[in-house]
Symmetry: C2
Subunit: 274 residues, 2 copies
């Protein structure tokens, strides 16, 4: 089971009731060594403020969420999306993050051109990687569960993400979140294919059997159906030595709770069921 | 675009307000030549009654929904599930259905053993196919969207379903529902791999961009993001000559409407956007 020194808290896990500065303080106070902040939270607090507080608290940054969202219906839209990604790279560099997580984006509004959107994603990542490498930032393509293909990410399996890595090269890798990939019959093979060099992030939560919402009803590890230890072992067998990042969107449960309760539970569950 | 002679109505599409006998009458009255009834509806009406009315109306049966649900936590459970499948084969034979659709089942309650559940599915289908062949019934494994892996079906891609077909042989094939597979980067390749002989059913509906419910918020063709004509052409290029079966679970929209409105819309959408 992961020790506390291996845990990172994705700040979305407690985003509903707490500001980023409060979250950073609480994470450090509980002895969790790392965070993965979201860019809207960073923007609210200010990048320089976030960077200073993270440094002062001695926290590591397992990732920045998120870049991506490449596809667009117009050239102006593509350009705006790409420029936003350049700012995401800057934020990841400033925070010395292990990676910039890419949620690649869904179909442009009104479009049914899935292949076209996937081409825009490939072109966007290839171009962004030039800037990312200059800035010393690793890009991590996060395949999202196929239920997000329309509106959030047209990259939906580890195999597809790794095909992109193969095509683009550079330091592009993947972020593997058990929530998105646990169902995949080819998961073990694709984790092995990724290898240590391309597995830039590993995210934990759980899939609730009675999931009531497509986006905001993730479970705490141990409350759902995912065989987390089995996937964690596959990742460790690669030699993965990054953080185990806990990311839970849970509007009706964990987002309502006190941050101390959430962080204590994360530490306890990592030690017992992951 | 499919002509009316190619359309089948899955009876779940209008199940909330209408009994099976009412549905069969309405389908025939609108000139749609085929149906695919659900077993709970058949049980309510009586198999002999359903069979007689379908024959009297001159309707074809594109499939019976559904067999499957193989996995169980106990041997007694496995046995009960298998016996229910034998009854499903009998119903499909009595109705002279083109196939028995298999929704293979999810994880047994309390289980995280995905590989084990998948083995139970493979063993169940292999054993069932012996009875199905004797009865002249083709089994159609329906890969369900990965969001149903926990509670409804541990077979989630066309590739996985076809791997089962390869392993089991016999007359086992697949049911391809655009709702479940539209996101799959390997869809075209797997449809080609299936071939005419193993594509036992083809189902239509649409994925709504703002899907609000994991089960009961499917869209009418044309209202969502799926490029249906592209998938339909791939299927037709195989030489598929079965029905285009429309299956829409839509609690907040289509289930509330008058059956004439729904069937008229299906005919119009098939002629214009499929």
């Amino acid at each position: 089971m992961p020790e506390i020194s291996q845990i990172s808290t994705n700040t979305a896990t407690v985003r509903d009731r707490y500001r980023l500065d409060e979250i950073l303080d609480a994470v450090a106070r509980h002895g969790i060594p790392a965070v993965s902040p979201w860019r809207d939270q960073i923007a609210d607090f200010g990048l320089a403020n976030a960077s200073k507080q993270i440094r002062d608290l001695g926290l590591k940054v397992s990732g920045v969420c998120r870049g991506g969202m490449f596809p667009a219906a117009t050239n102006e839209g593509l350009k705006a999306n790409f420029e936003d990604n350049l700012r995401a790279v800057e934020a990841a560099a400033e925070l010395n993050a292990d990676c910039l997580v890419l949620v690649v984006g869904g179909l442009p509004e009104g479009s049914r051109d899935l292949e076209g959107a996937r081409r825009q994603v490939r072109d966007g990542i290839a171009r962004l990687d030039e800037s990312a490498r200059s800035a010393g930032v690793k890009l991590a393509i996060e395949p999202l569960h196929p239920m997000y293909c329309a509106d959030r990410a047209v990259v939906n399996t580890m195999a597809q993400a790794l095909d992109l890595c193969d095509a683009i090269g550079g330091s592009v890798g993947v972020a593997c979140d058990v929530y998105h990939v646990w169902w995949d019959p080819d998961l073990a093979g694709q984790i092995a294919r990724a290898g240590k060099e391309r597995l830039h992030a590993f995210h934990l939560c759980d899939w609730l059997r009675d999931t009531g919402d497509l986006l905001l009803d993730r479970g705490m590890m141990g409350d759902g159906v995912i065989d987390i230890p089995s996937i964690r072992r596959q990742v460790e067998e690669l030699g993965y030595s990054g953080f185990m990042e806990v990311e839970i969107f849970s509007k009706k449960n964990w987002w309502r709770r006190d941050i101390g309760d959430v962080l204590t539970t994360i530490i306890e569950r990592c030690a017992t069921v992951c």
